[in-house]
Symmetry: C2
Subunit: 190 residues, 2 copies
Amino acid sequence: MQLLKDRIKKDGKIRSGNVLKVDSFLNHQMDIELFGEIGKEFKKRFEGSDITKILTIEASGIGIACITAQQFSVPVVFAKKNQTKNIAGDIYTSKVESFTHGRVYDIIVAKEFLSANDKVLIIDDFLANGSALLGLAKLVTDAGAKLVGAGIVIEKGFQEGGELVRSNGVRVESLAIIDSMSEENGVTFR
Amino acid sequence: MQLLKDRIKKDGKIRSGNVLKVDSFLNHQMDIELFGEIGKEFKKRFEGSDITKILTIEASGIGIACITAQQFSVPVVFAKKNQTKNIAGDIYTSKVESFTHGRVYDIIVAKEFLSANDKVLIIDDFLANGSALLGLAKLVTDAGAKLVGAGIVIEKGFQEGGELVRSNGVRVESLAIIDSMSEENGVTFR
């Protein structure tokens, strides 16, 4: 998606440890007009897939998921990272290793919001080591739902996640795949 | 907002400890069509206010804020609850006491995303003890920005937050104000 790649080139900041800061438009400040275009692109890529629900993970996936959901006219469910007292009872759960925070945490979805009748599109902002995406995919399969695929805004193509998830048979559509990046040479897209 | 009140009556679940579960349409599963109507209502209430930015807090405020932002054609900034290694340097910060989790945490916004030129509308899903809203308001005033007001989806009118925040001179527009609720008698709106 050229508009997105141009924006990453223009406003993305590369930091040590393979960190790409896109917090001016994607995951701290959010450019809602750009999100609208992202939503349309996901709609185009998953056209005809008969999606019933979008699944994402808090926090930075939620905005993109909601705007994308308008295109498909379906509800969004976001997986929570910690169990709160507002969620009791039957839940699907899986473990996710955070690249950003360097720790493992549980993600949960209440069982009532994912069923065997659902055809689920996963939406997230980043795909790096693939842990979050595999964790979300496990929630879908645990529910007996159909996983239609995953729509990712930025994939770090130089990390193992994309290959790992695709080799598990998941259709992944990434709007920008970064093959390499460095503070000296900037970002190179696939 | 009648549509919202009807939905709370229909799908809200009252639990002990003054917990109102609206996770089937508001803060776990999200009804994007309802969010669209909520966004239009906030637009109506803050029409002519010349808003430049919407501020919310992760995680459950983000979806409503993004859909509302489409109405105002402005970006959204969400305050983060924990400092991650992706956010370094200059930040505004304040403390928030969580009603749901029973603990105090820091919220942060990178300074580059709130400036003295901004006219800020705060959006959140709940107003209860007012701590989150006052914390967000402090970020706005610390930045020297103008706080236009706060748009709240559900206000627990029997808790002190609404009065506390309004007595601080903040314009609060709540789409549903609950005066009382009990497992026996359900929800009574103001």
